[in-house]
């Protein structure tokens, strides 16, 4: 059970990074249309 908290913390931060990455993809899409 002691392994769950570090996994949770890193996984949550990874998910937030993935959210930022989605914004980057959106930026690339808009730039490619120009």
């Amino acid at each position: 059970m002691a392994a769950i908290p570090p996994l949770l913390v890193w996984f949550a931060l990874y998910l937030y990074l993935a959210k930022i990455n989605r914004t980057v993809q959106k930026i690339e899409e808009i730039q490619s249309k120009k």
Partner: protein, 244 residues
């Protein structure tokens, strides 16, 4: 040198994570081997509080200046704060199970923190439901400011009031009960998570600003140039000269 920073940082993250498992058990815990949950639980509410303070400050700055850059900064702060609030709740529930035998036991700390989560959920629900950029920015800034004081009360004051009986200790750090391995590793985890949070905050703000600028350029958005003017299609009343 710059190319080396990321691998070195990843290595440090790995080493600190492993160190948190190598730390000795704490006999004062019900299950001494699970005391190391503390390393990951303790930094979360501290960071969440710092981010909520930052979010409230930036919301206030938005209301003062009406500059949408402050809205983007406030949103990034609030999002990260919510991530750490959720982590506080999740790691707290695991701690509760390990230490007191139940995932949820209606402890005043758990309940008051659940209320904080609900309060800030309203912030994101409001933002998701509002399309108008300026209205969303000003109303959500007001909401963030209005929510901040009750949230601080629920996190730091309510659980410490005299008639409130909580299992959750309030003075482990202040009374020096956390020392040696536990103090060092907690500080290391805290420092690493803080660095990653600051980097992600900057990335989130930067990408959101670029996206907003691009969308404004491609839409020829009214909001950036004439946010205070009425939308197209609204008929304004005008005064006509009297024909006497």
């Amino acid at each position: 040198m710059n190319r080396l920073i990321n691998p070195i940082f990843a290595l440090v993250v790995g080493v600190v994570t492993v160190l948190s498992f190598v730390a000795p058990d704490l006999p004062m815990f019900q299950r001494p081997e699970l005391a190391r949950i503390f390393f990951w639980h303790f930094p979360c509410p501290i960071l969440a509080t710092c981010l909520l303070i930052g979010g409230a400050y930036m919301s206030w700055q938005y209301l003062r200046t009406n500059d949408l850059r402050w809205d983007i900064r406030a949103l990034a702060m609030q999002e990260l704060a919510y991530v750490f609030c959720l982590l506080t709740m999740a790691t707290g529930m695991i701690f509760s199970k390990a230490q007191w035998g139940a995932w949820w036991q209606n402890d005043p700390r758990q309940t008051s923190f659940l209320l904080v989560l609900m309060l800030y959920f309203a912030y994101f629900a409001y933002r998701a439901a509002t399309q108008d950029t300026l209205r969303r920015a000003s109303n959500s800034a007001a909401l963030a400011l209005a929510t901040f004081i009750p949230a601080m009360f629920l996190i730091y004051v309510f659980p410490r009031l005299d008639p409130i009986q909580s299992f959750h200790p309030s003075d482990s750090v202040m009374k020096g009960k956390i020392h040696g391995w536990y103090a060092y590793i907690t500080l290391l985890v805290f420092a690493l998570v803080t660095i990653i949070t600051v980097v992600m905050y900057r990335m989130r703000v930067r990408t959101a600003e670029i996206l907003r600028n691009l969308e404004e350029d491609s839409n020829g958005s009214m909001e950036s140039h004439g946010g205070n003017s009425a939308p197209t299609g609204v008929v304004r009343p005008i005064s006509l000269p009297r024909e006497d």
